[in-house]
Symmetry: none
DNA sequence: GTATAACCGAGACGGTACGTCCCGTCTTACC
DNA sequence: GGTAAGACGGGACGTACCGTCTCGGTTATAC
């Protein structure tokens, strides 16, 4: 007599198939296809899997894509908590590193895609992937405003918009190849000090 | 016998139909559909037009969407050329006003959409709609760096990224309703002065 | 101003496609497939036609098959009306001739197929193809009973069952090759005179 | 130490499951489904049995159906051997009784089903269920021809066709409800005496 | 008594065909 | 020659079953 989690009846789902599906999805995205051009049939074929096996796990293409994108995320970095500048750089550099890979580059574009239709990947990716990072940034900014490192009148949302917006900008419309390693650092410095001439 | 530009034989194309098609397209986009969910058949039905009439003018859905989006653009504002701050605010405020309409809000999302597939709307919209505005901003920044209004070491691309990125950020992930009227002004001020505490 | 039938809007349906579909269907049936093994996709492929073109005309496979079978039917033969024997032979010989072709042989098997599910081909084929012939036979039998050529106590349904049943029997379970040319004649004679020893 | 047939190791197959499967199959057929609409999954569900348990016993749906149909057959009746008429009636009445049940009615339809594809139920049911009965009828007819009860020139196959054909006719296309109890008798009499007016 | 072997239910697996939707093209009659 | 209507061949959708394959668990005989 056990109180163990469960041990559902029947043959368990194949982890191998699941991985193959995710891989195939990311592969196809990396080839430059948008969500619209992605087809479940192509994913199934590339993964060597029946369509059923996909639909058993995800209700539709968008759900699958959101999950596939999620697997590419690095975890939040540990924050030293000593300087606002260092913490912001650490947080932004995670994204910079991710976007450094070609595959992830395509992925981020897909993630930002399209309108707010219920099936849209964009909103859901935002909730799932971006929100935690934004919250972390927001927290660092609040701390900085409180302890005097930042302007006491700082509009947190505006700070967030400058930092995130710039990073997304480079990811989406920046130079084709890898992003420069010091990008996060330079974004943070420009955002902190402004672009106007120092007095 | 005329020497006029053309005067092609046969019945001329109906301007009314063309407008109805564009309107129908924007309507459907405003209802929150992404490019993928848009269908030519739905557009034709809503516009009360045959599919032929659409395909006679645009080779595919994406071309139509790009054209439809284009009709929403305001022209570049005249720049006073006296202060970098004022000029930047003027340039950014055009976008802010556009994005103020719900319809345009959806449209901008669509415009940012998706990957770099050849049919993708994103890249083409960028070329057609964003590039001129970005060039204008870039020009203002260069002028400012040259005449001492801005940091002489300013990385123009970084300035552009901060300004545009923040605006896009608010358009895409900002509050649901209209954007505040002073948004452009506040973005520019934060970008110019930075968010760190003044000495 | 016309009062003509109609002249429906849009491109008219292609008769060529329709014929190709029917032909393909009969071909595949003639290859020995039952209704169950028939697939719309195979029919479409063989006919060089899109599935849509089939579904635009027939709601499902069974409807298509019923229509296809119908095209194989010969019209009712003219009846001399002089002798019951001659008229019955004429009526039965139509079926014998049809069943003489291999293709039709398969077809008749399909036509007799299966249960009485709403989708079943059997019942519908019966209504459409067999009923008129049975009615004709029944009429000849009634006439014969009335004018003294047949037993005045004859049960018409029983006569019909003997005649039709025997013919179907040979079609379904008779010798593999063509049915003998005098089959109808012999069936009629046996049915008329009985198989018992003459007094 | 036994010399019995076998006594295989391991858990023996469940007779209960086997019966439940057959029952479920006949049930579903009786609901008017044809072989095509029958699904193994539905049978398994209705029988409360795993699909494996079915496939362990029968290679495919058709085999199962043939076996299921077989369970409905009555054994051949003992023949008095005194009169051809009585023996024929006895043989035909077995079928009449079987077909009297609604379930069997559907079953006989299924049994006659469809084309001659290798998987077809029809041919196999014929071999298994009809052949012995037909042989018995044929034997009675031969005996009658030999001993003078029947026409010395009788074509045995024709006699068989009249008798069997008529019975099948009533089973397949006769009145909806039960078949009349004297049907076999009346068929035999009509076949023996013919339907033409007595001299 | 305890292996061991075949069974059992459940249900996931790679597939095939379904019937639907939309693509971009085409063919009508009408204007 | 443009237009609305709508049929065309094609391709992907999401669903239903196919027949096969694991699972954990059960029930027999054989050791």
């Amino acid at each position: 007599m056990t109180t163990q989690p469960q041990a559902r009846a029947g043959r368990p789902r194949s982890e191998k198939a699941e991985k193959a599906i995710i891989e195939a999805t990311l592969d196809l995205i990396a080839e430059g296809l948008g969500v619209a051009e992605l087809t479940i049939e192509a994913i199934a074929a590339r993964a060597g899997v029946g369509k059923t096996t996909i639909y058993r796990r995800w209700a539709n293409k968008e759900d699958l894509v959101v999950d596939a994108l999620a697997t590419m995320r690095e975890p939040l970095p540990p924050l030293a908590g000593e300087s606002v500048r260092d913490d912001l750089i650490a947080l932004l550099d995670v994204v910079r590193r991710e976007v450094g890979h070609r595959r992830a580059r395509c992925v981020i574009n897909v993630a930002m895609s399209e309108a707010d239709s219920p099936k849209s990947v964009g909103k859901r990716f935002f909730k799932q992937a971006m929100e935690p990072r934004l919250t972390a940034i927001r927290r660092v900014l609040s701390r900085g405003r409180a302890n005097g490192e930042l302007d006491p009148d700082l509009d947190i949302d505006m700070g967030l918009a400058l930092l995130s917006g710039a990073l997304i900008w480079f990811g989406r419309w920046g130079p084709e190849g890898d992003l420069p390693e010091d990008l996060a650092e330079r974004i943070v410095d420009h955002a902190l000090e402004g672009i106007a001439r120092r007095a």
